[in-house]
Symmetry: none
Subunit: 207 residues, 4 copies
DNA sequence: GATGAATGAGTTTTCATTCAT
DNA sequence: GATGAATGAAAACTCATTCAT
C-alpha cells in the first residue's frame, strides 16, 4: 500500500511534468524560447511558477528536457521504421512515411526540430547540441547502413557513399516537411513515399 | 575637391556601418540574436551605443539590415552561377561550386542563413521572413527552370517535378554545408561538384 | 476566517499601493515628474522597482493614479464644504476654510494641484487633463450656483456673472495658498475666511 | 571702423541668440522643457547644436535666459501700465488692458509664465525661481502702492490690506487669462477692463 | 568660429529566480 | 508541498554635452 501510494504519487508527478512540458512546447513553438516567460508557461500549464522550479532547475533546463523528450520520440519512431523486418527499399518507404506521420502529428515538434538541428548557432543553447547531435548521428549511421545493406544485397547500385545517401534522403524529406510547414496546402507532404524516393533513385541523366 | 571630401565622408560612414554589421554578424552567429546586447555589439565594433543608434533605428532594424545584406550577397552569387551561359549540367556544377565557395568564405553567414531559411518560427522576426522568403522563392523558381530546360533539351529524363528537383539539390547541398559547419575536417564540402550531383543523378536502383 | 485572511491580504496590498503613491507624491512634488526615476520612487517606498510595476503599468500610469487620487480627495472636500446645509455666505466661508485646511494638511498635494490645474501645457500628460479638468469644471459650476442662489435669495446683489465670481474666489484663494506655499511665515493663509471674502465683497470704490 | 565692425558682429550675435531663444520658446511652450531636446531647438533655430552651446552653458541656462527675458518683457509692460500719469482707477484699467494685450500677443509666453509662477515645484529649476520671484514681488509692491495711493486720495475706501488687493487683482486677471488660454472662444478676455474690476469693486453683499 | 558625429551616463521596463507563508 | 509576491540584474534606447575638423 505505501508502495502503491508512492507509485501513485510518482505517476501524478510525471503527469504534472508532462503538463508543464506540453505547455512549454506549445508556447515555445509558437513564439520562440526568448519570447516566452516562465510565468506564461506556468499560466498555460495551470501551475504556480514556483512549482515549475520544483521540476526544472531553470528555464534552460526545462527547455533541454523538452527538446530531448521530443527528439527521443522522433528518433525512436524513425529508428523503428528502418529496423522493421523488410527489404531495404521497403525500409526507406517506411522511413519516408513514418517521418511524414510523426511530423504531421505534431507540427510544434517540427518547429523545435528544425530550430535545433538546423538553427545552427541560433539553437539557443550550445550545450544542448551535443546530446541531440549524437543521437542524430547514430540515426544517420543506421540509415546509411540501410543503403549499405541494399547495395550488398544488390538492390541498389553502388554509386555514392552510403553515408552521403543517408544525408541526401534525410535532407530531401526535411525539405519537403519544411515546405509543408510553411504552406501545408500548397506543398503537401506526399502520401506516396515513392514521390520522394524517385527524386533520388530514378535515373535522371541520359548517359 | 569638395566632392572628393564629401565622398570621403560617405565612404567613412559606409565603413563604420560595415564595421557595425560585421560585429553584429559575428556576435549574432555565435550566440544568437537574443543573447547579444547592443552594448556588446557596440563594444565589439568599438563604438558607443549611441553611435549605433545613429545608423540603425533599433536592434531589430540592425538585425534586418544584416540579414538582408547577407541574404542579398548569397542569392546574387547563386543566381549568377545558374545564369552563366553554359549547358544545364554545367549550370548545376557552377551552382554547387559557388554555393560551397560563398559559404566557406563566410561561416557566420551560413549560420544566419540556416537560422533564417530553416529556423521556421524560431526566426526571431516574423516580418523579416517575407522579404527573405520571397527572394528565396524566386531563386528556387530559377533553379527549377534549369531542370525544366535540361529536360526540354533532352539532357535530363523527365522524372520528377522540376521544382522538387530544385528543392532536392538545394537541400542536399545545404545538408553537406551543415555537416561541414559542424565538423569541417570530418565532413569537407566536396571540391568536385559531381560528388553531390551523382547522388541525385546516377541511377541507384536496378529496376 | 479565510475571509478575514483574504481581506488582510487585500488591505496589505492597498497599504503597499499607498506607500508607493506617497513616495511618488513626495518626490514628484519636490522635483517634478521628469526629474524622478522609478528607481528613486522604489527606493523611497522601500520596494524593488519590479514591485512597483506589479501595481502600476508604467510611470505614467503611476502618475495618473496619483494625481487622480489627490484630485478626488481635494474636490470631495471642497464640494462637501459648499453643499453643507447653510446659507450662501456660510457656504463660502466653509469653502475658504476647508480649502485652507486641505491644502495645509498636504503641501505636496498643492504643488501637484497647481501643476495640474495651472501648469497649462506644462502639465506633463495631455490625456490626464481632460479628467481633472472636467472634475474642476463641475466644481466651478457648483460654486457658481452658490453665488446664483445667494443672488436669488437676496443675500448678494446681482453684479457680475456668477461663474466669474466663482472664478474670482477660486483664484484669490489659490493666490493666498500659493503665497503661503512660498513663504508660510510671511504669508499665512488667513484663519478668518472673511479676510478673503471681504476683498471681494466689501465695497471698495466710493461711487 | 573696427568699432563698427565689432558692433556689427555684436548685433549679429544678438540676433542669433534671439533666434535660438525664439525657437526654444516655441518648442518649450508647445511640449514642455523635458520633451524638447537640444537637437530639436537647434534644428528649429537652424543652427548646429554646438553653436547653441557657444551661447548658453547648457540646457538649463538656455531655459533660464528664456524665462528671464520673457519675464522682463512682461513686467516692464505691466509696470509701465501702472506708472502712467493717470489716477488710480485709470491705472488699474491700464493694467488690466495691458495684461490682456501682452498675453494675447504671445500665448507661448503665458504658458511659460504660468508654468513658472504657478507651477510651483513643477517649475523645472528651483534656482530660477528666486530671480523671477523677486521681480514679481517688486511688481506686486508697486501694484499695492496703487491701491494705497487710491485710498489716500480717497478714491477707494480702506477695507483690505492693499497688498492683498494687489494679489486679488493679479489672481483674477490670471484666472481670466488662464480660462482664455484653455478655450479662447468660450472664455474671451474682456475688452472692457471694468468687467474684471467690477468683480472686485462693486459692492456685492447687501449689508 | 561653426559644425555635427560621437559619446556614455542614465532612464524605463522586463522577467528569471527565490523564499516566506 | 505548492504558491506567487518580491526581487534586482540586465536590456533597449535617449539625449545633453563635447571636441576634432
Amino acid at each position: 500500500m505505501p508502495d502503491k501510494k508512492c507509485s501513485r504519487r510518482e505517476r501524478e508527478k510525471l503527469r504534472q511534468r508532462q503538463d508543464m512540458l506540453s505547455a512549454a512546447l506549445e508556447l515555445f513553438s509558437e513564439k520562440g524560447y526568448h519570447n516566452i516567460s516562465m510565468h506564461e508557461i506556468a499560466a498555460r500549464a495551470e501551475f504556480a511558477v514556483g512549482t515549475i522550479y520544483k521540476f526544472f532547475k531553470n528555464k534552460e533546463d526545462l527547455y533541454k528536457a523538452l527538446v530531448l523528450e521530443q527528439s527521443d520520440k522522433f528518433h525512436d519512431t524513425l529508428t523503428q521504421a528502418i529496423e522493421a523486418p523488410d527489404d531495404e527499399i521497403e525500409k526507406l518507404r517506411n522511413y519516408v512515411r513514418a517521418k511524414g506521420e510523426v511530423f504531421r502529428a505534431n507540427a510544434s515538434m517540427i518547429r523545435l526540430y528544425f530550430a535545433e538541428t538546423r538553427g545552427a548557432s541560433f539553437n539557443i543553447m550550445a550545450g544542448l547540441d551535443s546530446e541531440i547531435r549524437e543521437q542524430y548521428d547514430i540515426f544517420l549511421q543506421k540509415l546509411a547502413m540501410v543503403f549499405e545493406e541494399g547495395i550488398k544485397n544488390k538492390r541498389f547500385k553502388k554509386i555514392s557513399d552510403p553515408y552521403y545517401l543517408a544525408i541526401a534522403i534525410e535532407s530531401i524529406t526535411n525539405a519537403f516537411l519544411f515546405l509543408w510547414l510553411q504552406a501545408p496546402e500548397r506543398h503537401p507532404y506526399p502520401e506516396n513515399p515513392d514521390v520522394i524516393l524517385d527524386i533520388l533513385f530514378k535515373e535522371l541523366m541520359d548517359s
